[in-house]
């Protein structure tokens, strides 16, 4: 009974970490991706300096392996949350790694929208803002949903890593009970829960993307 309780709590912690950090990634990554896209586009809002600066920052964060990012930004995490241990603290590195990932995803989704549609929007007198939220985002929404699915699944994996260094969640349980105490049942249970979680995310993502395209 105690073990089931343990797994339930850990599962919720993992879900919480993944969803909250994904939410921040979308809130910050979407405008960032849009900005990267429009600052490169000669007919929208070409600002080469802004584009290359943002591109450089995004590449920089993306090139750091997550396990290193996790420990490297501990001071930053402590600044925001007040501590670097626990589920809430783990959301910070998770979000930091997901933001540039999602920004690139949005940018590449928008690259797939035909230039003809942007041109039609301009010819109809749309502002850059209207082109973004009435043409680019709706026309690339299925690709963006598939990207969110991918990001959520990556975050499930990363959250387990965060768990290993005190972030809580299923990763933490797997390490402390499954690995250090040789409780093989717990280990198997965490793996099964993670598999189910990933399958559910993929299934929902595919379903929504199909509905939207």
């Amino acid at each position: 009974m105690h073990k089931i309780n343990l797994l339930t709590i850990a599962t919720w912690q993992t879900i919480e970490m993944v969803l909250v950090s994904a939410l921040f990634a979308v809130i910050i990554g979407l405008p960032l991706g849009v900005l990267i896209f429009i600052t490169r586009h000669p007919h929208l809002y070409k600002k080469s300096a802004v584009h290359s600066t943002l591109g450089f920052i995004v590449n920089m964060v993306r090139s750091i392996p997550f396990i290193i990012l996790l420990v490297a930004i501990t001071p930053f995490t402590r600044l925001i949350i007040g501590t670097s241990i626990g589920t809430t603290a783990a959301m910070v590195p998770l979000a930091v790694s997901a933001i540039p990932f999602f920004a690139r995803l949005v940018e590449s989704a928008m690259n797939e929208v035909s230039y003809g549609l942007i041109e039609a929007g301009l010819a109809m007198g749309a502002t850059v803002f209207q082109i973004v939220y009435k043409i680019l985002i709706p026309e690339s929404r299925a690709t963006i949903i598939r990207g969110i699915t991918l990001m959520l699944i990556t975050l499930v994996g990363y959250s387990a890593m965060a768990g290993a260094i005190g972030g809580g969640g299923l990763g933490n349980v797997a390490i402390t009970y499954g690995y250090e105490r040789f409780e093989i049942n717990i280990m198997i249970a965490t793996v099964v829960i993670l598999i189910v979680m990933v399958q559910l995310i993929q299934w929902c993502g595919d379903y929504i993307a199909r509905k939207l395209s």
Binding site: L122, A123, M124, G125, K134, I135
Partner: protein, 251 residues
């Protein structure tokens, strides 16, 4: 009406400068249909995009509906573009919106009321013969139907000028004929000034009052459609007419 004065467009890249348009002078009178014909790469696309400043001319003046577009700021230019309809070779409809919402699109940009949009869009769909397709999404439509939606969309803001960029090049012969007939009707009903660019002489023959032949960024010949066919002045024009008369058999 459309007036282009001394338009030059020069693209610069690493390999040098490309003179895409060379001293273009062209006008479309109120209610007139002017066709611009030329081979691919002759500068037709750049020319038509210079009219609504999708491409900014390197030098020269563009005047549409008596407004000098080349002097406007960004907001004024957007305002002016609401008065210039445009249709495209590949239709450029929004795949995530149905027929009604595609036609309503330019009106939503202007924040018109739902009631007004409904009235305008219904009238336009009737005009282009698609009243029964209002809830259908573009990928369920044929090429000709898509172009009809695009035409209705271009007319939604009640423009005085219509730009047609290779409007029938992606359509089969019969559909081309229907679309050209529709454009003719619209021209007569609404008194619209129309500028068409095309590489097909049949389009010119069917609808143009006047024709300009463009080659290597220059207008090499400009005449009424009748005169051009009767008495072509340049080799390029003769060749284009020949191709149209004979078809592809011994071209």
């Amino acid at each position: 009406m459309i007036e282009l004065y001394n338009i030059n467009k020069i693209y610069s890249n690493q390999s040098g400068k490309i003179h895409a348009l060379n001293n273009i002078n062209l006008s479309v009178a109120p209610g007139e249909i002017v066709g611009v014909i030329g081979k691919s790469g002759a500068g037709k696309s750049t020319l038509i995009r210079c009219v609504n400043l999708l491409e900014k001319p390197t030098s020269g003046f563009v005047r549409v509906n008596n407004i000098e577009l080349t002097t406007l700021n960004a907001a004024q230019l957007r305002q002016a573009r609401h008065q210039i309809g445009m249709i495209f070779q590949h239709f450029n409809l929004l795949a995530t919106r149905n027929v009604f919402d595609n036609v309503a699109f330019p009106l939503t940009l202007l924040k018109k009321s739902k009631k007004e949009i409904n009235k305008i869009v219904s009238t336009l769909l009737e005009k282009v013969g698609l009243s029964d397709k209002r809830n259908v999404f573009p990928h369920h439509l044929s090429g000709g139907q898509k172009q009809r939606v695009a035409i209705a969309r271009a007319l939604a803001t009640n423009p005085k000028v219509l730009l047609c960029d290779e409007m029938t090049s992606a359509l089969d012969l019969e559909t081309t004929y229907d679309i050209l007939k529709l454009i003719r009707n619209i021209n007569q009903d609404l008194g619209l000034s129309i500028l068409c660019i095309t590489h097909e002489m049949s389009v010119i023959k069917a609808i143009a009052d006047r024709v300009a032949v463009i080659d290597q960024g220059e207008i090499i010949e400009c005449a009424t459609a009748v005169d051009l066919f009767k008495n072509p002045q340049t080799e390029i024009t003769k060749r284009l007419i020949q191709l149209e008369m004979r078809g592809f058999v011994d071209a």
